[in-house]
Amino acid sequence: MTTIAQAIRLALHVGEERHGVTDIFGEDVGAPLGGVFTCTQGLKTAWNSPLDERGIVGTAIGLALAGQKPVAEIQFSDYAYNTIDLLKLAGAMHWSSAGDWNCPLVVMTPTGAGIRGSLYHSHSFDATATHLPGWRVVIPSNPRDAYGLMLSAIREPNPVLFMIPKALMRYRGEEGEDIPGAPDQKTLDEMINKPVTGDMSQWAARWPETPDLFIPFGEARTVREGRDVTVVTYSRHVVIAREACAELAREGVDVELIDLRSLAPYDWAAIAKSVKKTHRVVFVNEELDVTNFGEHLVRRVVDELFYELYAPPRLVAGAMVPGVGLSDNLERASVPQKDDLVRAIRETAKHQP
């Protein structure tokens, strides 16, 4: 059983060995730490950058233009907001040059709340990310997807934003959500986790063989089939929604749960198919409540499936306040909790044709 952090580490290793990754860099990404969430421990091309997000993105663009394959990290998505112009620039490179250049960089960044990270380690970035033309945007909810989406990101000729749910860094996933053929938990930990005590200056990872698994962008995953309501979410809310579904099942509400995984492109076909079946849909994410990517999905449902709907499509999202407060009380009041999902789904399920 692999954690999401380990899955990313393994994918980056495979990226270095087999798919041309030349630079994995950012603040504290190289030795000795290997990333504040250990995602980059032991990787041969990992290096520590200056504390400068603009320089990180700028240098990644330059590396990409020079035919390298950089994976740049922004330590927390909360600290990417001074680089939006550069992200836009990367997304415009192919288009503005009328197809002359492309800009194949990967930016990875931990995102979202759930770890009592207070104002600046709880931001969601999906609204900003999905408003960046020219970018692929993905966000896995389990180790298998983290691995397979990262490998696809590495091979992608366009800029990819790879977001990692902070709260799921150590999440090992459910049945079927592990990397095919990954060693058992204990073995893997011994092989690739850098021990936290002792002199580790000579430590090196022993990498297991893991396969080339490419999860295509724009393909959602149906986590649970159901008949009454469609729930479309991603990131850590897949895990939360799963619990909500179990609870609702006991009440007789049968939910179909879709993990989008990829936000740009997103799997409209999967959403449409499910909504045509259940006629009711709830979108869930933890971004701020105004100008939210989930609102785009609501709009598209209304645009294309209005006469299929038995209930107004809903979005459950984060509170439109300047930050997520540190106190547990505040965090829980600011981002959707299981009970919020249960309530919204239950209420949507009640609507009849």
Binding site: E27, D28, G30, P32, L33, V36, N48, S49, P50, L51, D52, E53, R54, G55, D78, Y79, N82, R116, G117, S118, L119, Y120, H121, A319, V321, P322, G323, G325, L326, S327, D328, N329, L330, R332, A333, S334
Partner: protein, 338 residues
């Protein structure tokens, strides 16, 4: 070395000042230790703070021209500034409140991490987590002060790694425009680390951070921030210049990081770093200004006091969930008030 290093060893300050300084340093240290213990015991989610910077931050706080509004100093600090705040007169119990994110935390109402001070009545601008943004804001308060006249200045402080951020550059440039120079004291507390990343390899080989000031024509100093006498004297000198000339000055102070970066890296005591408090106590004892026993007794009593306080704080209520909606918008102007 392109800089004139200051030799602090020679300057002796009046004994009562040294005693006061020592007491504040002890209080600062003990406060941070209490905060770390609270974190260890689960009474707080995250710790970050200033153990190892007391010898610099305490003198800084003592020298502040404290008050509200443009006639007084504005402080744009970062998350290691407890020594400065204590020296200005902050109640350490309020830091315990922020650590435990209680409803009574006066700095953020249980919203922000410990060390994120905000004291409008003393011109302490809200400390925020994003590194270095304070350097972009500092020219604004300084411009208001320049316009007002008088001796109030803007003090802005950040770490060494953070100087790589654009905002450090903005602070330098906006403070030193010809004919529009601003009364800003820029401070870099250089502990040679940014989380796990060493200074070495992230900066040029032959120059140092203070040299940046030279490129903007401002006076600079590289000082031993582990010696409070040096810090006091050098800060006095720098402040006097900024207050009088109404122009910027850049101080790079070499300091220690005695508990690592934060609780995220364990917050264990780092023996290899210089402990400014131990050093100062030795020096004062040798000069007969304090005794070992006196110092220990003070430390013990303050430790006990804060332990008791922490018990009370832990029992304080957490903020109500509905308070997330409070203070999203101001209903009147506060910053014009005196």
């Amino acid at each position: 070395m392109t800089h004139s290093e200051t030799d602090g060893a020679t300057a002796e300050l009046p004994a009562e000042l040294l005693v006061r300084m020592h007491e504040l340093m002890v209080k600062g240290r003990v406060l941070e230790e209490r905060l770390i213990t609270m974190w260890r015991q689960g009474d707080g989610y995250f710790w970050i703070g200033g153990p190892g910077e007391e010898a610099f931050n305490v003198p800084l706080g003592m020298l502040v021209q404290k008050g509200c509004g443009v006639a007084y100093d504005y402080l744009h600090l970062h998350y290691r500034s407890s020594g400065t705040l204590l020296a200005m007169g902050a109640d350490p119990v309020d830091s315990l409140r922020q650590m435990k994110n209680t409803a009574r935390d006066p700095y953020s109402g249980g919203r922000n991490f410990v060390g994120h001070y905000s004291v409008r009545k003393w011109n302490v601008v809200p400390v925020s987590s994003p590194i270095e943004v304070q350097f972009s804001m500092a020219p604004g308060t300084a411009l208001a002060q320049k316009r007002h006249g008088g001796t109030g200045i803007t003090i802005v402080q950040g770490g060494d790694a953070g100087t790589a951020e654009a905002d450090f550059y903005a602070g330098l440039l906006w403070s030193s425009r010809k004919g529009a120079e601003l009364p800003v004291l820029m401070i870099v507390t250089n502990n040679q680390w940014g989380i796990s990343t060493a200074y070495d390899g992230q900066h040029p080989a032959t120059t140092r951070i203070a040299d940046m000031g030279k490129a903007f024509g401002m006076p600079t100093a590289v000082i031993d921030g582990n010696d409070p006498e040096v810090a006091y004297r050098e800060l006095s000198k720098a402040m006097e210049y900024v207050r009088r000339e109404r122009k910027p000055y850049l101080v790079e102070a070499m300091v220690s990081r005695l508990r690592g970066h934060s609780s995220a890296t364990g917050a264990a005591f780092v023996k290899s770093e210089t402990d400014c408090l131990a050093l100062f106590e030795e020096k004062l004892a040798a000069r007969g200004i304090i005794t070992r026993e006196g110092a220990d007794a003070m430390r013990t009593s303050f430790t006990a006091e804060l332990l008791e306080a922490s018990k009370r704080v832990i029992a304080e209520p957490q903020p109500d969930p509905s308070t997330i909606w409070d203070h999203v918008f101001a209903t009147k102007n506060l910053v014009g008030e005196r």
